[in-house]
Symmetry: C2
Subunit: 623 residues, 2 copies
């Protein structure tokens, strides 16, 4: 489809709107006494063209699954994004003056507290992954016409996550994705990063790359038209812009980054008003077409298509049970998807790939993009995503997971290869801080299933639980201890061994639960009976069951985990008991960087074996 | 300097050594019953040429500051690295059979438990940053002739961290750095990643890019010669290789990734022996030259050149005191360096840049590379590095920091903008999990200075403390409460308010310490006297002081922090009291994702203000 230039009147109207957006960016940050108006100014024409010539929106339902998406990766330009929605008619422009106030959702950086925001941004370099996730779903699952736009700053293009995502987008031919680089050249990063360098890099990463004057309405409009008509390649629009553009006495002034204009505001606004030819200009966004809409989907009540099917005493790794359960819930619901970062053979996500290859997304060895794509793929309730890799490699994407919580994401994570029990591969491969990481995520649920039956139920529960879920799976095989019909629930622990005479409560999960059981056997030989508790979820923890049984066991608790001391199961138990007097807790954990060796030897060497539990219990019995 | 081809005899010897390295890779992984021999095989000629034609080494002191460096970013190829050092004569080749055994330091992935390893690798995509840090120091600080080599796998080149580091290396013209890509094309990543794509990408990222047959000794040797003679640009050697090269019946066989050859080992070894023309071949690495050596440096006993200079009651942000102290210790020792990721104006690292620009490294908005460069810069005790950015953005580099602990790094981190107290910028910018992150690092020290005096001393102590140090600094100004001559030590808390009648111990740090003091005032009006404790270091925590004073306060403790519940100061206190009966702890923390607003309003809204502390104390008084 060939491009037709805008007629002069329309062109002038869009220009006028751009200047109005500039004025709003000044006035809102003036009212807030903080913010980044000059970072907004460089985007004014880009926003005006996107909102009033390009994107197809539904103002009645801004998160309509069929409408186009926009992710503002450079989240500090929030004021102009808010201004664009206000000018489009979503809410009164007067509200823009509430920017950054505690009783307004127009926060300093965008969050989905606003009904027109899909994801929180503000930690730089994360927007493209999210947009790529949306685009992937649009192209391959929804098979719909909506397009995804993402605006990236030049400073943030130093983030490696950006290049992970560009690589991903090109590999999967996401031609429904358009990445706009706002190159206002103010960062410390500008030495060699001239336009030509960007162009070479984007070309080399497989993009349809267009260089435009980011303040020229017609060039921008043509660029978006070109992008929409380019097949099999995502488009990068490299927009050459000026920071503080058209702000009188401010344009191009680096020192004013991240500050309202203060005393210069009034003159700048007057100048902008002078540039506007029709102060009453009013444009509307395009509407969505009738065709190519996203299908209606239902992602509730997801179940294992068949229940767990093991025999008590079977030896099965929980990571294997994870893969099995994943394929089972995917059979139950066509919107369950799985993503992995070149570890599918060891996380057992390959069971999903084998069963439903079209719903498995290989994200290569790039964990930040992996997580971002999943967050994007779940937006607007399009999918239920399960992301797997080795537990410790989620540390690579901690920032993305943290931002996921701000985005109210429901992504589920599964981390295999936890703790010393992986053995010979050594410390770089051992997840020893993963519980700490996922516990720190607001609203998260942390599953730590001990056997295959509970692991399958963890997957099923995670699929239906809001917020970030994490399932910690174990490398070696462990004994099945629950019946196939055992009922599990979030926040409900299990007592797996007890006698009325119990004098100590042992708490373990995964490999350490078996160590607890073995320690209990040995203790009984010495006439000490121990109760054993399997928490199932570390967060929320079953506080009342722990308090009740801890009291029955004379306030003596031994908690043991294949994890570092900080932030894991042990500190979760201590938090649960914080406001209880008369408890004494002995916490066994991996105290230092482990090493390569056989799993059983390491568990003992680092003090979390049955022998260590036995000793700790003997010691605590005196208290 | 023009290149002269190797003479035939030398060429054959290097070839023979390469095959010997292959044999060792098979036999050691056979003995271990695990490992990645085929990933070693693709590297055999590269290793042979590096060790026996290119690198200048000191076998008596493998970490000689003047010798060349090699970082094996693809750490799973450890067996062939170990084999090369053994063949070079560092230790008997028989020891290679102890690979992965618990009593051997020849671990599954390299760690600096071995005297010839600088840093732990095995989490992919991290090696180039470390090598770039070494090269930066070599070129700009040591001004020495040593060169730095780093071997990267093709799979790991999907990691964004790789591209952050390539950008950095080119920006700083690190012509003493040579990055070798072992392109054995076995990952899921190989679709479009043909050699030409690599070449275009590396060219676009500013490298001197050479494509070679990675199994051709002469081409490799010529490549390294070219690299050594290229000025102002780092070199990338793109080596086209084959996985399992010259392993009979195994070469190019993807299924065998990460497995020993098993039954195929014997035939493969026989075939390799057949390929070796002189089984007794023995080569030695090049020695270091007499010129261009690295200077001797002393990085001990670093002190503030002048003591803190504040008045009690002054209002000074601890982040500002951080910058001041940094410049002061840099004045005391010429090996103190600072690194920042485009946040120097707000972390106040710019004070260092202004005073000693040649020791300030701007790392752009790329936190993974930031941390990796610092780890590399501190290797072989060349520098004392301070890395700063906003506290929450260290989540971006959690994996690098985690690996830093495995590398025994002494890098110091300073995170500004912690907690809700940053106010209007909103949750994406608030560090609310940074204490959890840094506490989880084995051997770490976590400073949380409350005022400017203690902040300056934290910087001084960190400079002299082994292991990872983290200094959490605060955005708003806080009141100076310590005299300039107050003595601080790691693990020593301060009682800042006490009376004999105290019935509750309040623990806070940073902004919450002031809230505790204010709450204590209000409580006293209600005839309840409270003791207030400032921990100074959250890790190690002053357990004995807390236990002693907690007991004196009837076992009642209120701990309050501008951080999420998990893994922070509160859980540290709970861990400290775990084995004490008769304590009751009320923990106040930020319970959910905060929002934009004035700092004081947010502290109250999220339950960590003096009002909340007052209420919590009234409640705990009943227990």
């Amino acid at each position: 489809m060939s491009y037709q230039m805008l007629d002069k009147k329309v062109l002038q109207s869009v220009k006028d709107v751009a200047h109005k957006l500039r004025i709003h960016s000044i006035t809102s940050t003036q009212a807030a006494k903080s913010g980044h108006p000059t970072s907004c100014a460089s985007l004014a024409e880009i926003m005006a063209v996107l909102f009033f010539q390009t994107m197809r929106l539904n103002l009645k339902h801004p998160r309509d699954p069929s409408s186009d998406r926009l992710v503002l990766s450079k989240g500090h330009a929030a004021p102009i994004l808010y201004a664009a929605w206000a000018e489009a008619g979503l809410f009164p422009v007067e509200e823009l003056r509430n920017l950054r106030k505690v009783d307004s959702d127009l926060e300093g950086h965008p969050t989905p507290r606003l009904n027109f925001i899909d994801v929180g941004t503000g930690s730089l370099g994360q927007g493209i992954a999210i947009a790529a996730g949306m685009a992937y779903v649009g192209k391959y699952l929804d098979k719909a016409e909506y397009r995804t736009y993402v605006i990236v700053g030049d400073g943030e293009s130093a983030e490696g996550a950006v290049w992970e995502s560009l690589h991903f987008a090109a590999q999967y031919s996401l031609d429904n994705l358009c990445v706009i680089f706002d190159i206002n050249k103010m960062g410390p990063n500008d030495m060699a990063m001239e336009m030509e360098v960007y162009r070479e890099r984007l070309d080399a990463f497989g993009f349809n790359t267009l260089t435009v004057d980011g303040h020229d309405i017609d060039e921008l409009n043509k660029g978006f038209h070109n992008a929409a008509n380019c097949k099999d390649k995502p488009t990068a629009i490299l927009a050459r812009t000026t920071k503080g553009k058209d702000f009188l006495a401010v344009e191009g002034c680096e020192e004013l980054h991240g500050q309202p204009l203060g005393k210069k505001a009034e003159a700048a606004i007057q100048h902008l008003q002078f540039l506007i030819s029709n102060p009453n200009v009013r444009l509307s966004p395009k509407k969505m077409g009738k065709c190519g809409r996203a299908p209606e989907v239902n992602i509730t009540n997801i179940m294992l298509c068949v229940p767990p099917n093991y025999r008590l005493g079977d030896s099965v790794a929980t990571r294997l049970a994870y893969g099995t359960a994943l394929a089972k819930i995917a059979a139950d619901n066509p919107r369950v998807i799985a993503l992995d970062a070149d570890t599918k053979n060891s996380t057992y996500a390959d069971k999903m790939r084998n069963a439903f290859p079209e719903r498995f997304i290989e994200c290569f060895i790039a964990q930040q993009n992996l997580v971002g794509v999943a967050v994007g793929a779940t937006c607007r309730r399009r999918t239920v995503a399960f992301v797997s890799t080795h537990a410790t490699f989620f540390t690579r994407a901690y920032d993305q997971i943290r931002m996921g919580a701000i985005s109210n994401t429901n992504v589920n994570f599964a981390g295999s290869h936890c703790g010393c029990s992986i053995g010979e591969d050594g410390p770089s491969q051992m997840g020893l801080e993963d519980i700490a990481l996922f516990r720190s995520i607001p609203g998260s649920t942390v599953f730590y299933p001990t056997d295959a039956v509970s692991a399958e139920r963890a997957v099923e529960l995670a699929a239906n639980t809001k917020g970030v879920c994490f399932i910690r799976t174990t490398y070696p095989s462990t004994r099945v201890i629950y019946n196939n019909d055992e009922v599990f629930a979030v926040g409900r622990a299990k007592i797996v061994r007890q006698k009325p005479s119990d004098e100590v409560l042992l708490i373990g999960a995964g490999v350490t639960l078996y160590e607890c059981l073995e320690a209990a056997e040995r203790l009984e030989e010495d006439c000490i009976t121990a109760r054993v508790l399997d928490p199932f979820t570390v967060k929320p923890l079953d506080v009342s069951l722990i308090v009740t049984h801890g009291r029955l066991c004379k306030g003596r608790v031994v908690v043991v985990e294949d994890h570092y001391q900080q932030g894991g199961l042990g500190e979760a138990v201590l938090s649960a008991l914080a406001d209880q007097r008369n408890f004494v807790v002995k916490h066994l954990y991996v105290p230092t960087v482990p090493r390569s060796g056989p799993a059983a030897v390491l568990l003992d060497m680092f003090g979390i074996s049955s022998r260590s539990i036995y000793k700790a219990t003997m010691c605590i019995m005196k208290k």
